[in-house]
């Protein structure tokens, strides 16, 4: 716990401990680290330490215990961390990515109605994708239950396992994020629903950047620089996609021991949009959907977003500001 205190101490060089996943939906983070964008924006006064995670819980635990100051993370753990700490532990300071989620099914299935009696996987009970498919099915008049009953059986399981089970025929489809969408497609699947089509402006949050409230209070200036880095990274990603893809592949290779197939990245790329807007409305709506399908109780999200720095950065760069709904 002492490290976090020293981070808040103020005197001497500040260390920013940043987390992210070696994953395509975390492209801005990966590119920002790989290309030294964060280091450049943070300047020499701030020491950057990065840690990778392969799942949300560890990252949130690290934030909670003061081992991490900021992390890129999906909407689901964001909401959990916020509500479990009674709105105290974290703030979303920027968006990072949107889109990149789809329902992939066996080729024979062409309509929602045909999903009746089928098994569809989601990454985790009650997470955004899980809620999304339940809500979508509900709108199509198909019932699902939390217990796996109803017209369509929802099977929450790890994404890695989804590829295995889809290949072995144990499931008929999956509502998953990239790169698993592309992997399932390569394994003979077919995209039935691109989740972007269900959202206004085809935009919904898949990755955003959160910082611990304590760090935000102690070092607002550092957070601002971090957000500058994020904005710059997104610019890079959107401006030089080829170079960004190359960087992602290489960086993931360094961490996982095997470079991520460049073809796969290129295949997934068009379904993703790298935007600084955290698309707060989609988070809120997602939550409403979750309540509608009886997976969560209503959560008060007031105070989750702190976009002042983002807007300062955007404004100073002459870009349009983002606003909360």
């Amino acid at each position: 716990g002492d490290d976090s205190e020293s981070a808040g101490g103020g005197s001497g060089p500040v260390t920013l401990r940043l987390g992210y996943f070696p994953n395509i939906t975390h492209a801005p983070a990966v590119v920002g680290v790989e290309k030294g964008i964060f280091a450049e924006k943070l300047g020499s006064d701030v020491k950057l330490e990065t840690t990778t995670f392969n799942a949300g819980p560890s990252a949130i635990e690290a934030i909670f215990s003061g081992a991490l100051d900021a992390t890129y993370i999906g909407p689901n753990p964001t909401v959990n961390a916020f509500s479990k700490s009674k709105g105290e532990a974290i703030r979303v300071v920027s968006g990072a990515a949107s889109g990149g989620v789809a329902l992939v099914v066996k080729p024979g299935i062409t309509s929602a109605e045909q999903l009746r009696g089928k098994k569809i996987a989601t990454p985790q009970l009650g997470n955004t994708q899980d809620v999304a498919i339940r809500y979508w099915l509900k709108e199509k008049g198909l019932k699902t239950t939390k217990e796996g009953g109803g017209d369509v059986t929802i099977v929450p399981q790890e994404n890695a396992q989804t590829v295995e089970t889809f290949g072995s025929g144990a499931i008929d489809g999956a509502w998953v994020p990239e790169p698993f969408v592309s992997r399932l497609v390569n394994a003979g699947g077919k995209v039935l629903v691109d989740e972007r089509d269900l959202w206004p402006d085809r935009k919904f949050v898949i990755t955003n950047l959160i910082v611990s409230t304590r760090f935000l209070k102690a070092h607002p200036d550092v957070v601002k620089k971090l957000v500058e880095g994020q904005v710059a990274a997104n610019e890079f990603v959107n401006g030089k996609p080829d170079e960004a893809q190359q960087a992602i592949s290489g960086h993931i290779g360094k961490i996982t021991g095997k470079p991520l197939d460049l073809k796969l990245i290129k295949q997934a790329w068009p379904t993703l949009e790298f935007t600084n807007d955290p698309i707060a409305s989609s988070l809120k709506t997602g939550l409403d959907h979750a309540v509608a399908v009886e997976l969560t109780k209503p959560v008060d999200l007031d105070g989750l977003y702190d976009l002042t720095y983002l807007n300062e950065v955007l404004k100073s760069g002459g870009r349009p500001e983002v606003s909360l709904p």
Partner: protein
Amino acid sequence: MASDTLTTGPRTDAEITGLDALDLAGREQGLSRLRRLWSATWPKLAALGLALAVWQAVVWTGWKDPWALPGPGPVFADLGGYLLSPMLWDGLATTGRRAAVGFAAAIAVGLVIGLGVARVRVLRAALGSMITALQTMPSIAWFPLAIILFQLSEEAIFFVVVLGAAPSIANGVIHGVDYVPPLLLRAGRNLGARGVNLYRYVIAPAALPAIVAGLKQGWAFAWRSLMAGELLVVIATRTSIGAQLTYARELSETTRLIAIMIVILVLGLVVDSAFGAADKAIRRRWGVLDQAGQ
């Protein structure tokens, strides 16, 4: 000769029973049941109290935010609710059933492999050290194979549990059979026990203590494999302790996570004391109760 002046007749029954009485005198003693119970219980309570006090003290220092490290108060409040909710009991029912079935399967597999390896020289050379090496294979490595073989059925979970626990059990059987005193085997054969009868009357009961030790060890592996394996097939109709543990973590419900840990620890204690009782009963019957345990 002095000996002529002494009695020389055959031993009287009094001498035999006298010797027996002297030999057996002062063998068994013991504290009263109540005192034993108390002296076994208070240190546990004290340890528990101490642990709680330290925990509470750490929380009071404010070292970590309450959502990172909740205090005993909220945890026990949550545990109370959890204990009253059907969720725990449904989960326990599912997990308990899986543990029972998986462990039973592991026992069957472990017994067969153990007996095979113990009795067949070639199998021993071929599989002997493989058995222990398998123990170091993490459960997750078996997941793909489990799915290939059993799809998304509970059998996949059992498969992982069996692979986790069977090696320990087999090792227990091998150890037990190896150490059956050869004298007992010869005595059994001389008394007319051959083939299956030799197993029934001599080898199986003689190997029992080692087998129980193997089962106990196997249980720890089985349970850990089960906790991981329950994520393999999340059958939503059936909530399970393993899934609840992971979800508590994924939803950052630290309070619930600790509550589940307490439940697991209590289960572990219960199972351990069941094995301990079995072990003690056998040792007592066998007459090899350890000095320290008395």
